[in-house]
Amino acid sequence: MHALARPDAVKRRAAGQSGEGKREHAAAAGAFGDEQEVANGQSSRDTMSAALSHLRICDFTGQLAGAGATKFLAAFGAQVIRIEDPVLEGRWDVLRGAPPFKDERRGINLGGAFNNHNVEKLGITLNLRTERGRDLLRRLVAVSDVVTENFSAGVLERLGFGYAQLRTIRPDVIYVSNCGFGHSGPYRDYKTWGPIVQAVSGLTFSSGLPEEPPAGWGYSYMDHTAAYYMAMAVLLALHHRARTGEGQHVDMAATEAAASLNGPALLDYTVNGRPLRRSGRPHSNRSQFPRMAPHGIYPARGEDNWLALSCRDDGQWAALGRVVGKPWATAERFATLEGRLKAEDALDALLGAWSEECDMFESARALRAAGVPASAVQRPQQRIDEDANTAAWGLWPSVRHVEMGEVRVDGLPVHLSETDWSIRRGAPCLGQDNAFVFGEILGVGDSELAQLRADGVI
């Protein structure tokens, strides 16, 4: 076990498994009274995860690429304090107050995606154009372990809170920035969002069929994934601090995280000189690495229904042949991988003619029972409401949101035996936790709080 270097961290640890953050949450609920506790959807302290409850994060992130990172940390009990601009009503995050809306009720607190990405966080408003606002931020940074942001490069520095300044407030602070091209390099000032990151990093190109334009990713894969890398960066830096007492700045560029995900095709270029930009490529429904055939997405009975299947080896091909039960499926010419690769187009056509007649769930079940990897291309309803595995996992928890009421959100695909995640509290409304954060954590008195409100500082 590594000794924690900082006395205040040791003190936090000494507070025990329940953790300081958790006690503060409980205190907050108490201060608001029981009614408020229910309204916040913040149920008893036992439902919070203890994994990271000793940590406080001063959080400027938004959208998904940043907010997704602190959602993960908050679900494990970190006290994430989300800072928003009262003048713009937090609209720097374009998802705040944006569709989808539950029950068609619109409003700055009613954005469905915003709620999904900001569960279990506290929310405060702070006007950093004012000196008093900046002073409150300095006080918050001083008691925070981590500062996170996904602004364009240089924005936080121009506000007076770049790493150099943050360090003077708290020498061991961990500062993780996350933007498209990073804080250095020729494209430092270029603007991005998920699809641009995917385009420039190679991921859009490698998703597609031959002779067609790039299909790319039908969503911001790299907003999700940049958030995953950002969460890893925070945790890696926390572990480093626990060992050495040192904080640091982690400069994360989403395009670099993305470029590291191109798979073996990239080494085929650097080692063998074979580019992916060549005739007949990409063909991403087929498997080049490792070679498999058949390997693809085939039509199934009904409108826009599709079956995905792959045979790893000749044994699985033989098993598939028994399920299909047609003469071609047991023909000699397809018996070996070499044979199937040589006639891959013909094989795909025959398989497609078979699969088109079948219900995609029935054929997938039959193939899997025979040991062949197969799956229906599931639509949202099918994988969310009708999938036994995601239901049993508890993948779609309901949260209580102050204005939206009960809403289902994305849960997490991991379960920890001792300190599992908990997602119950909806995203904070604008400034929802001002009284708790400024009052309880920073010790601002009631009258001063009222004045700050009246002066537009919070």
Binding site: H183, Y228, P380, N389, P413, T419
Partner: protein
């Protein structure tokens, strides 16, 4: 100043952390992420080598246990030992390895390790601080947990394939390249391991982590999930852009050199229309662009509100003219020029690079993204994709190439203080025959 423009020179973030990895294709990336972040990852392979050593592509296209580029990519910075876990002697060494480890990462089929008596439940007693992550397609115990999967079938079942593809739904949904289903499961495995580690740093116990790859893909689908959860409506795939519940304008254009560019969010502010107009004027092409007059007027008018687009014909005309302008300009310029000129004018645009082109780009090179890894046994160095992060103090780096088969057998067993006889039994027949 104050930017972490270069990696720090201190100890790596996971320096000193001992990890045992027992992963085939699905989990190896998790081990790589930990190893490149500084952990001492000991990869356990069967005596004949991990199956991915036989995966294409191969060095110079010739098969061989030490020639798989798949193996090279996913096993950097690890040490490698061979153990025959079918044999009692091999399992005994595995137990000793785990007894001194901080973390185990494995992607074995549920039940296999329990059958051998070397699962978490069997080994936690000797090491209560142990963090153990199990990466499986459907979780350890839930419905379907015994069923086989590949990257393709995970992306199909988990909802990503449904969103990738083309406007023309006669074309099949598209899987997306690069093994992103496996990558996504591994990302969550590493995130969860690090949560458990930070908890342990604060005095907490070790624990077991169940990673479900199907679930991981399911919650990596953005609006695919929350549009259903919030509104009970399903997004539909479109060419090269977000799947949406109703059609949206295309965002890809083909430039004069045939290379595609993603043009980002369509212009809708007056100043953006003006910039488009000026750009065409700079190119000296105003006469050739029929909608120039609309653009010029739009530059003086109000913002296009997407919510009112359907009922407002003037807005439709401006919006369409701006889109035509993007397509027109792209047709005049090579993609690189269009990308840089567009960004310089404030448009969120991105050239659609093939993976290899990323490594040749000046920005990625200036930040040191491509790194060289030495393969001393071949007397050569090769470029690899580099750091996903720049740590100001504790550097990420590939310390060395993937291990040769059994490369660290002697070294690791010496650390475990095994006798020569125990060692040769443990490594299995292949190691025997080498001696």
């Amino acid at each position: 100043m104050a930017s972490a423009q270069t990696q720090g020179t201190g100890e790596a973030p996971l320096s000193g952390l001992r990890v045992v990895e027992l992963c085939e294709e699905k989990g190896a990336f998790a081990g790589k992420l930990l190893a490149d972040a500084g952990a001492d990852v000991v990869k356990v392979e069967p005596p004949t080598g991990d199956a991915t050593r036989d995966y294409e592509p191969f060095l110079e296209d010739r098969a061989g246990k030490e020639r798989s580029l798949w193996w090279w990519l996913y096993n950097t910075s690890k040490r490698g030992v061979t153990l025959d876990l079918e044999q009692l002697a091999g399992r005994e060494v595995f137990r000793r390895l785990v007894a001194r480890a901080d973390v185990v990462v494995e992607s074995q089929p549920p039940g296999r390790l329990a059958g051998w008596g070397i699962d978490y439940a069997d080994l936690r007693g000797s090491n209560p601080a142990l963090i153990w992550a199990s990466i499986t397609p459907f979780g350890r115990a839930g419905p379907g947990s015994q069923e086989a999967a590949t990257d393709l079938t995970l992306l199909a079942g988990g909802g990503i394939a449904w969103m990738n593809g083309y406007d023309d739904h006669a074309l099949p949904p598209v899987r997306g390249g690069g093994n992103q289903g496996y990558h996504t499961g591994c990302h969550y495995a590493v995130m969860a391991v690090l949560v458990a580690l930070v908890h342990r740093d604060a005095g907490g116990p070790g624990q077991f982590i169940d990673v479900n790859m199907h679930a991981a893909v399911n919650v990596t689908t953005e609006a695919g999930s929350y549009d259903w959860l919030v509104k009970r409506r399903e997004v539909q795939r479109q060419t090269g852009r977000h799947a949406a519940y109703r059609p949206t304008m295309s965002t890809q254009v083909r430039c004069a050199d045939g290379v595609w560019v993603n043009t980002g969010i369509a212009p809708r502010r007056p100043q953006e229309f003006q910039v488009m107009y000026d750009w065409i004027a700079e190119l000296g092409k105003l006469e050739e662009f029929p909608e120039a007059a609309i653009l010029e007027v739009a530059g003086q008018g109000g913002e296009v509100m997407l919510g009112r687009l359907e009922e407002d014909e003037e807005m439709q005309a401006k919006f369409a003219a701006a889109r035509e302008a993007v397509v027109f300009i792209a047709g005049q310029l090579p993609a690189e020029t269009f990308f840089h000129e567009g960004q310089r004018r404030g448009f969120q645009m991105g050239i659609i690079y093939a993976p290899e082109e990323v490594l040749e780009d000046g920005h990625f090179q200036a930040r040191g993204f491509p790194v060289e890894v030495e393969h001393a046994e071949l007397g050569r160095r090769f470029r690899y994709p580099g750091a996903p992060w720049r740590f100001g103090r504790s550097p990420w780096r590939i310390r060395h190439r993937a291990p040769l088969l059994g490369e660290h057998n002697a070294e690791v067993l010496k650390e475990l203080e095994l006798s020569g006889e125990e060692a040769s039994e443990a490594h299995g027949s292949r190691e025997e025959s080498r001696r």
